[in-house]
């Protein structure tokens, strides 16, 4: 087990090296002139003469071989310098640091109910196979699985914002922002809703929540569907296993057969899916933060990508990939903890 974790942790920098190398080499397709546009104001850029262009390319080292530049960038990363983001007009590292709490807040609120209630409902569906609840959950799951998040997001905005006026887009209201930015408002965790509570500002807490509900609904809809499906089918499979029969042969009451003997086993495949889910949720923040116009890593990445702010792109990819790899590792460990048969090695 320990050996396995060490092995994976040793592989982590190697994989990150590969990831950044892939993205970096893709950016080379652009050629030095395009790359330069990330450094220069577009209005100025159009008016530059060829010589001026060459000079600037020289200045930023854009005509050096790719390897040299990659290792330069890598050296920067190791020193904590991810470069300058044109879109955010601040260092990439700083920009990421500021945005992470917002994305974590969104992901956290989305994940917890899905895992808590989703698993419970999935088990209920399997136990009540072919009854009303089961059919309802199955239909919900298959539709949810087919409903793209951006379509759903638009619908949520239409109904809950424009029609009902309940959940506005954005991160917080203007009045709240003023208070939050003032020195009296202490940032403990940088997670807005929690800080609001810690500052005793229920009004701000409520405001943050109002801005969160739409995005949470949108981002977790798909995963509700997915988790329900997997829990249900995994539970159904386990209920047909022989050890379930053994439990019944011992005279174990049905309630314990399901919630003790079967469920613990059914959770093993669900953990893998829950892992995919956490990772999917993170990627989903891109779309949701754009639709709801929220501050966060997702929108930052989308802006960086669409505007070829490649220092920011590389930084974001580095961030997302690290989260993804560590997330997968945690899942594997959880998996081993749940299933005594697995000896990772």
């Amino acid at each position: 087990m320990t050996a396995y974790i060490i092995r994976r942790l040793l592989l982590l920098p190697l994989i990150l090296f590969g990831v950044t190398l892939i993205i970096f080499s893709f950016t080379q397709i652009l050629g030095p002139e395009k790359l330069l546009s990330a450094y220069v104001n577009p209005n100025v850029f159009d008016k530059l003469s060829n010589e001026e262009l060459d000079k600037l390319i020289e200045k930023y080292g854009l005509n050096e071989p790719m390897w040299t530049r990659y290792f330069k960038w890598l050296g920067g990363v190791l020193r904590g310098d991810l470069g300058w983001s044109v879109t955010a007009k601040q260092p990439v590292a700083q920009a990421i640091k500021e945005r992470i709490p917002y994305t974590i807040e969104l992901a956290l609120y989305a994940i917890i109910p899905v895992i808590g209630v989703g698993i419970w409902l999935g088990v209920a569906a399997a136990v009540n196979r072919d009854k009303f609840l089961d059919h309802f959950i199955r239909i919900f799951a298959i539709i949810g699985w087919s409903l793209p998040d951006f379509v759903f997001g638009l619908i949520v905005l239409m109904i809950f914002y424009s029609a009902l006026g309940w959940f506005p887009p954005g991160t917080m209201s203007a009045w709240a922002e003023e208070i939050v930015k003032s020195p009296e408002f202490k940032r403990f965790t940088h997670i807005l809703s929690i800080d609001a509570l810690l500052n005793g500002r229920l009004d701000i807490f409520w405001d943050a929540l109002r801005h969160l509900i739409g995005p949470i609904l949108t981002i977790s809809w798909l995963w509700w569907a997915y988790l329900l499906r997997i829990t249900r089918s995994s539970m159904l499979e386990v209920l047909g296993k022989e050890y379930v029969r053994t439990a019944r042969a011992k005279g174990v009451p049905e309630k314990d057969v399901i919630h003790k003997h079967a469920r613990k086993n059914a959770m093993i495949p669900v953990v893998t899916v829950a892992g995919a889910m956490v990772i999917g949720l993170l990627a989903g923040t891109v779309i949701v933060e754009v639709i709801f116009n929220r501050i966060g890593m997702g929108r930052f990445t989308a802006q960086a990508a669409t505007q070829l702010d490649y220092a920011a792109v590389l930084g974001s990819v580095l961030f997302y990939s690290t989260v993804l790899i560590i997330g997968n590792l945690i899942i594997d460990i959880l998996y081993a903890a749940l299933d005594p048969r697995i000896r990772l090695g």
Binding site: G240, K241, E242, Y243, R245, T246, A247, R248, A249, K250, G251, V252, P253, E254, H261, K264, N265, I268, L338, D339, P340, R341
Partner: protein
């Protein structure tokens, strides 16, 4: 000798409803089990022997159904009329069961101890520490070395033989009156099989329980059963006391089965072949279930299902020609070898 049976199975019919049609897995089975004896049920795949045992426990898959008119009488109570809750109290307490594959029959995510203690706590009014002590005692009794250590191990950490011992410990922890052992040694090596069968015999002596031993291995039956039920195609073909069955077969299937076995105790020139293939439970032939493979089958056998004829008080055969079976076969064999 007139003992009262512990368990009586009367006209048991268990059907499964599948997409391809109705599978009459068990189709009118009768037998009794007396206290303290070992009843062997022998049969090939699809004979209905395992479904019979699951029917007694009422542990069929959801698509299986015990047909109206079947009776399973245990200590005077018809198990089929009990409520789920009453049945639950009998399972594991009065009737316990062990299965073929201890690897899949034990829950992989709980320790051996947790699984044995669960059975004890369910049926006996004891505290957790007492239950643990009892579980350790049981493990000791079934011959698991270092039971204090093994009790906290997971099933996959034990060898096949040890797992089956743990399974037996679990089944016997509440001192059942009847133990149903469904192919308990099939998945094990022969030297381990000998250990397990010996252990079961010892424990039977000690506890005085009755055992239903279900197996496809005629040898295991010969060495362990007191009485034998031979099943084929969801029906009982022959039933008799073990000595008599192996000496005076009154059914062509039993005869064929016993003569097609390679044996250690005698020299064999050539094995007998039962021709044809094991029938598909979806498409049993009309008439006697064995008629397609029986060398003596005639028109009558192809039309009518023979009743269970009484050869003597302990010996029954489902063959129209049960009186002639042995001579006919002997003659035939003599003719072949000549």
């Amino acid at each position: 000798m007139e003992k009262k049976p512990l368990l009586e199975v009367k006209n048991l019919k268990t059907y499964f409803y599948t997409e391809d049609g109705i599978v009459k897995a068990v189709d009118g089975v009768d037998f009794e089990v007396y206290p303290g004896e070992t009843l062997g049920i022998v049969g090939e795949s699809g004979s209905g022997k395992s479904v019979t045992s699951l029917s007694i426990m009422r542990l069929l898959d959801p698509n299986g159904e015990i047909i109206e008119g079947s009776q399973i009488i245990f200590e005077g109570k018809n198990l089929l009329e009990l409520s789920d809750d009453e049945m639950r109290k009998i399972r594991g307490n009065d009737i316990a069961m062990i299965f073929q594959e201890p690897m899949v029959a034990l829950n992989p995510v709980f320790t051996i101890g947790e699984q044995i203690m669960e059975a004890i706590l369910l049926h006996q009014d004891v505290s957790k520490t007492e239950a643990r002590k009892m579980a350790i005692e049981m493990l000791q009794k079934v011959g698991i070395p270092e039971p204090e250590k093994r009790i906290d191990e997971y099933p996959h950490e034990l060898s096949g033989g040890m797992r089956q011992r743990a399974m037996i410990a679990m089944a016997l922890s509440c001192r059942p009156k009847l133990l149903i052992a469904d192919e308990p040694t099939t998945a094990l090596d022969v030297t381990i099989q000998a250990q397990i069968l010996e252990l079961m015999k010892e424990l039977q002596k000690e506890y005085g329980m009755a055992i239903i031993l279900i197996t496809h291995d005629v040898g295991v039956i010969a060495e362990n059963a007191d009485r034998v039920v031979v099943m084929y195609g969801g029906m009982v073909m022959e039933t008799a006391n073990v000595r008599e069955l192996f000496k005076e077969m009154r059914h062509p299937y039993t005869w064929g089965l016993l003569n097609s076995l390679p044996r250690l105790d005698i020299e064999q020139e050539r094995l007998y072949n039962i021709p044809g293939i094991v029938p598909d439970p979806l498409h049993f032939p009309p008439g006697c279930r064995f008629n397609t493979r029986c060398e003596f089958a005639d028109e009558k056998c192809r039309k009518e299902i023979p009743p269970l004829y009484e050869v003597n008080k302990e010996h029954f055969s489902r063959c129209f020609y049960y009186q002639k079976v042995e001579e006919a076969q002997k003659l035939k064999k003599a003719g072949e070898s000549a």
